[in-house]
């Protein structure tokens, strides 16, 4: 059985947060949004239907936990969250992954989707460390 590794595209666009039972969790490198990416840690997945029924339950539970962590990251960054956005697209990077991010009215892409909207704002190192720490605490990592 092939070993899981995150697609290289995630390494350049996000920072590792840690691993839950199913998913590898990453923080998207865009300081404009509190934004986590969940990547189920199994090789060869493309669609949610490729997961077992038990792993699909884990995926939705980890998605909800990621929503709480996104709120914690937002608080640490001084951002508000008016609406969570959850998306599994994969048109560019087909390895199965779920975006969970916080939106606020008037944010750069509001009310459209963030995916493909515009280049991200990079974090300064201290703010990135704050965001990752907030995510880790919220996820119990």
């Amino acid at each position: 059985m092939a070993e899981f590794t995150p697609d290289p595209a995630f390494i350049t666009t996000s920072a590792a947060v840690g691993d839950l039972a199913l998913c590898h969790i990453r923080l998207q490198l865009d300081a404009r949004y509190p934004w986590l990416v969940l990547i189920p840690r199994q090789a060869g997945l493309r669609e949610i239907e490729d997961l077992s029924a038990a792993d699909r339950i884990a995926l939705i539970e980890e998605t909800v936990r990621a929503g709480s962590a996104v709120r914690a990251v937002a608080e640490a960054l001084g951002l508000s969250v008016d609406k969570l956005n959850v998306g599994a697209l994969g048109n560019v990077t087909p390895q199965l992954h779920v975006h969970v991010l916080g939106r606020r009215a008037g944010d750069p892409a509001w009310p459209g989707p963030v995916w493909g909207h515009s280049a991200g704002d990079s974090f300064n190192p201290a703010t990135l460390a704050t965001a990752v720490a907030a995510a880790r605490i919220a996820l119990g990592l």
Copy 2:
């Protein structure tokens, strides 16, 4: 307890397909994509976290069933599906709902998201009936 009714925005943009155990299922009125919308049939929901744990399991199972139905709708419409896209956004219509749709390389919005991309192409009545019938059969409705 308030009664569930779909937000009026869904009535103008989609056609009723039927009800599963948790969700009211609708077909998006855009002939360019095989596209279903799942609306959990409970009043007052905005986020996935607002569902009980049992209903979250139902939501992800109905999402997977909707993916199969999207493939059936695509076949009925003569469209291919290279990738499923699943999204719960709600920035415009905050009532909790999940989009499940089929994407093909080179479709009008490819590889970006469909939400907010461009106005839909309307169905002719016979094609719409074909699409709804394919969705109902695939969902066991």
